[in-house]
Structures are given as structure tokens and as C-alpha cells.
Amino acid sequence: MANVLLSAKDIQIRFGGVIAADGINLDVLEGENLAIIGPNGAGKTTFLNISTGYLRPQAGTVTFLGQDITAQLPRTIVKLGIARAFQIPQLFLDQTVMENMLIAAASRRGHPSGLRALSHMPEAPEMERLLDLVGVKSYAKRTARELPEGQRKLVDIALALALKPKLLLMDEPTSGVASSEKLAIMDILTKALAEEKVTSVFVEHDMDMVERYANRVAVWNVGKIQKVGTPAEVLADPKVREQVIGI
């Protein structure tokens, strides 16, 4: 059996009267692409927020490679090997795509002291390769602000990959992207993840994407995990079809 990378045990959190996590138990296995599906407000993003240290659960623990990371700072968790890509790409808009990447490379080093110019960092070829891998190398010298949404998403993911994470958490990697581009983006993404040997968890609303790219699916419903299984198993479940997918 594959190693457990991330393990959530009995996670509970509520915001006022809204229960966002009500006893979440989930293991993320090394090498898989795990999709999280569920209706709006089911607590999918909350799970990502807890796993990356942005939110502190009211009960329960999250461990990463056996180490307790519950309520650690996001940047501490990042250093352990969990990176995050965002639903709305989070880029340094005034800087070039390459500068964005090199800032990530400098962050990975931990203490970016010294007065060596950013553009002369030895990681430059490596960052260029990553941009190539996600298909945005031609934008390297453009400022991030000039990029179309789809390309911003890819740069956002490249920034996360630049940290050499073991686990990448993605919140709707194809939302806000024209449906004609979704397949292309997911193809690029899964290829990049396989090549970099990165395990991934992604929140997704599009069942075609889930069926095509996930090895395993976890179904969220009102703060609970309703079902975990292969895409075929989960999408065939009549309860899931009715309550989550709405058909």
C-alpha cells in the first residue's frame, strides 16, 4: 500500500451556525491525484485552508508525513512540502513571470540574503524548465498582469511547483477558464505533476475533469465526507448523483 502523505483526523470547524467540517477523516496517499467534489458550501475549500494552516480547526489533527501540522503557520507548512495553487491565481502582478518564479526559488532557499541580482540566480534554468513544462515559457518576460486568466492559472501552479513540494493542493484549477481550454490545462497539469512526482489534491466541479484525471474521489457534503472511492465507483453511486452532482 502507498504511503500516507497527509492525514486528517476528526476535523471539526464551524463558522457561527455553518458547519464547514464535521468529523473529516481523510488520508492522502503518495502519488495519487485525489479529487474533492461536492456542492457549494460543503467545506471543500475549508479543508484546503486547514491543511495549509490558513485556518485552525476547532478539533482534530492534521499530520503530514507523521508530523502534526495542525495550526502551524502557512509558511511553516510550505517548508515541510505542501504547496498551494489558488482558485484565483495569486501572482506578483507587477513583476515578470520569470521574476515571479525566481522569487519562489529564492523563498525555497529559506534565507535569501546577499545582494546577488535576482536575474542571476543559479535556479534560473530550472525555473525556465518549469515554465516550459506548464507551457508558459513564452510569457517569461511579460509582467504577470499582462497574462490571460488561463495562463495565470498555469503560472500560479508553476509557482507552487517551484517549491519542489511533495503535495500540491489546488482549488478549482480550471475554474474561470474557457471550457475549450480546460482539457488542455488539465493535460499539461497532470503531465507536470507526474514528471515532478508531486501528489495532488484538487477541488473540482466539472465531473468530466474528475473522471478523466483523478485516481480517487472524495465527496463532501455539509461538512462530512459522504463517500471515497474511484471515480467510476463514486460517480455511479445514485446518492452522490442525486445530492452532489444533481442528476
Binding site: R75, F92, D94, T96, I103
Partner: protein, 319 residues
Amino acid sequence: MMAGRIKPITIAAIVFFLVSAVAPLFVASWATLFALILAKGIVVLGIVLLLQAGQVSFGHAMFFATGAYAAAFWGKFVGGGDILLFLVLGGVSSTIFGLIVGLFVVRYREIFFGMLNLAFSMVLWSLLEKMFHYTNGADGIRVARPGLLGLTFTPETFQYVILYVSLAIAIVAFYAVQRYLDSPLGHMLRAMKSNETRLEYLGMSARRVLLIGYVISALLGGIGGTLVAIIQQIATPEFGFWTKSGEFVFIAILGGGAHAFGAFAGAAMFECVRFYAAAHLADSWQLILGVVLIVIILYAPNGLIGLRQRYGQARQGGH
């Protein structure tokens, strides 16, 4: 992408530093004028640095005053003194003070950052005003003309000595700030302006990045303050008053915050207007500067250095 933009501005900087070195040899009264421009430019360099992170400090005069009083206190309580000693004292004390204040202010952003800086500076100003026994209150402390490496000078020679010391420090500071802004830490400072969240999710502490920038800018403020105290031979609580902080922000906006040279371009404009308008139009130099600032904000929001870029781009676009 930067090469085409930085190059002409670097030439402008070189020309400016050359003029500062040579022009006062022909007009003696310019020695003090240029020394002041350079010293204030060094302070404003610190403001420009924080502008990279999108933060405006309305209290940076506190470091300016710290540098000035470091020299003044030495003269008052120890006696004598040397330009280099004063600069070391001013630099060290403002760095330490910057670190202490910085630990508090880097937790805040934008208007809260600006106002907390202002609050700290007003505390210092009050202390300088009220602790009469040590500071002579509003009268300030005279700073006797120091020597340099054991040499003493006549007033005529001294104005050139302090000019060239200011020039040397300004060049070093200008170069060092450029290098810093080009380095990973400098880029992270700029990155804070557009996306602090991402910086944290890359594993960096945004507060630490800002703190490093803040302490450097405090050091620049202190060094500039020491120089001005030596040039004007006095340190008064006015050095730390909020209008002085406003003046530095004013100069930074006048010159343009996008490049380190903006600090010196702004300081040159500001001091020249003051120097000549004060001579010819008595009490209306503030009026002239006010009008200049309105024009800058309306027509050249990137300051004097932005004008050149705009003109350059328009010309490129025309071809």
C-alpha cells in the same frame, strides 16, 4: 525588460553626481546647497525603498532626528568629534531605533502603517522638546564643526569637505539600494505590494521582508540626519516633527518612487525651489512647491523620473 529603462536613468544619476561634484567649485554658495540635496536624497532613498512595498511612512523624520541628535549629543556631552564618528553614531543609533520601531510597525499596512510611524515620531519629538535639561528643548543643540580623520578645517574648506563626504555616501547608498532592490529580498519587497498572501505561501515571512527594508530605510534616514546636522551645525526637535516626515514623502513623490534616482531628483528640485524662491519670493516658496506638487500628481504621477520614461515611451510609440 529593465535594461532599456534603467540605462538612461543611470546616466541621469551619473550626470547628477558629477554636477554635484563640480558645480560648487564655481559657485561657492552651491556647496552647502548640494550637500543638503545629497543628504536629503539619502533620507528620501529610505522612503522610496518603502514605497516599493506600497508603504508610506509619515514618521521617518524620527530617524532623521536620531541621526542628527547622535552627533549633537556627542558634541554636548563628550565634546569635539569627527565626521566619521558622527556618521557611525548616527547610523548605529538609527538602525537600532529602526529595529525597535520596526518590530511594531511592520505588523500594519497602508494608513495604519503610516499613522503608527507618525505616532512614534511624535513621541520622539515630544521627548526632544520636553527633556530640556538634555536637549535644550526647542532651541536645539549646536553641532560644532567636526574634523575628519584628525584634520581640522576652516569654514570655507569645511563646506567642501562635507559636500564631498555627502556625495561619497550618496553614491554608495544609491548603488547599494539599487543592488538591494535587484536582489531577491528587494524583489520580495516589491512583491509585497501586489500579493502578500502568495509571499507567505511561498514560505516567506512578509513581515520579516518588510522589517529588513524598514531597518535599511531607518539607517538611511539616520545617516542623512547626521549629515544635515553637520551641514547646518544644529539639531532641533523640528528635525523630528511630522511636517519634516511629510517633506520627505513630498520629495519622494516629487522625484518618483519607481527608481532610487527619484530620491535625488526630487531632493534637487525641492531644495533648488526653496533656495531660489526663498531668496526672490520671501514667504511664498511653499506656494510654489504646492503648485509643483499638484502639477506632478495630476500630470506625472510617477514623478520627475516618470516624466522621462513617459516621454521616452511616447517617442518609441511614434516610430
